[in-house]
């Protein structure tokens, strides 16, 4: 697409943002109602499902053993993902670890983009509920590289509209409203989103993971959708998890 048209479209999109007006902003009272709904999050059932799935594999105990940590240390260890795991020589998310564990047990691993894996991932991450995210991007050269790639992916403009994640989710445009939704500053230090995914998405009536959400967003922004578990996706997760470092994990989340 010609650069001129690309820029024009970008500008048209950016100028279509409005400032969050009373018309579209939910009140604190409204938000409190949604927070209350988390008490009976439909995804609780999927998390219970995930627990059953892990139980079939030996439960928390077997998982801790597979990771090489004590059961006591398991929650804090989970709160540090994605991690570079020597065994795989890769920076991986918890879902990829689950795949490896299933494979080693002689079972057919769940596909990364499957309801079963989403439920299993939600349960596994929920083991760390209450823990503060403690990802360490300086742990080794692989984590450093993953963070750098994640930042690059977040900032790279691509697709028909020449948009990067940063085009809509940066401090310059945060608070503005796009299609009636106030935009969160996902790239900011302290942006907590990584602590509350996997989450129940109300408009989809299903449990979704963070990478799956990225895919939905990319599709809407006319960007080529990156596969779940790919180097770029895991790196994006590393980047955003680092932003949420210190936030308390609370799974399952509840999102629009």
């Amino acid at each position: 697409m010609k650069t001129g048209i690309k820029i024009a479209l970008s500008v048209a999109l950016i100028t279509s943002f409005s400032f969050a007006s009373e018309q579209f902003s939910m009140s604190d009272a409204d938000r409190a109602m949604y927070a209350e709904m988390s008490e009976n999050n439909p995804a609780d059932i999927m998390v219970a499902d995930g627990e059953e799935m892990l139980d079939d594999m030996g439960g928390d105990e077997a998982f801790a053993k597979y990771l090489g940590v004590s059961e006591d240390d398991l929650p804090a260890y989970i709160a540090g993902f994605p991690r570079y795991i020597k065994k795989f020589d890769m920076v991986v998310g918890l879902d990829q670890v689950m795949q490896a564990m299933m494979y080693d047990r002689g079972e057919k691993p769940f596909k990364l983009k499957s309801k079963k894996m989403f439920s299993l991932l939600a349960y596994v991450k929920s083991i760390a509920n209450g823990e503060k995210i403690n990802i360490d991007i300086n742990a080794n050269p692989q984590m450093k590289a993953a963070y750098a790639l994640g930042e690059k992916t977040f900032m790279t403009k691509r697709g028909g509209r020449g948009l990067a994640c940063n085009s809509c989710h940066s401090s310059d445009v945060v608070g503005r409203v796009l299609r009636t939704q106030p935009l969160p500053d996902l790239g900011a230090k302290g942006a907590k989103s990584a602590a509350t995914w996997p989450a129940y998405r109300m408009t989809k009536s299903s449990l979704r993971t963070m990478q799956r959400r990225f895919q939905g967003c990319m599709k809407n922004a006319l960007l080529a959708v990156i596969p779940i578990g790919s180097k770029e996706m895991v790196s994006l997760e590393v980047y955003l998890t680092q932003k949420a470092k210190g936030s308390e994990i609370s799974i399952p989340g509840l999102k629009r």
Binding site: N40, P42, D44, I45, M46, A48, D49, S205
Partner: protein, 111 residues
Amino acid sequence: MQERKSLIKIKPKRYKDGEIVKVSFMVMHPMATGMGKDKKTKKIIPAKYINSVKFVYNGKEITNMTVWESLSVNPVFTTYMKINGKGKLTVTYTDNTGEVHEKTKKIKPRG
């Protein structure tokens, strides 16, 4: 018959006899209105929604509901219940296609 996943939650988790507790029943159910279209096939998805729910505590029906298709997918039904002795709470629902589902939770008051 579809095996549905459901949960009965009681809040607080520990309660005494005579206490009034909050009880919720949650289930994974499509609650299809019969007006929605399948995105891929473009065909109308037939109505399939829970149409009645009963709460039975130690053999006595304490609450019953007539439910319509306007309830959200994966619905939740929350009300209060007075604890009146050890036993069990059974929640049963039927849907418009004749599906029946039952879930039971033990009631164990302390003191």
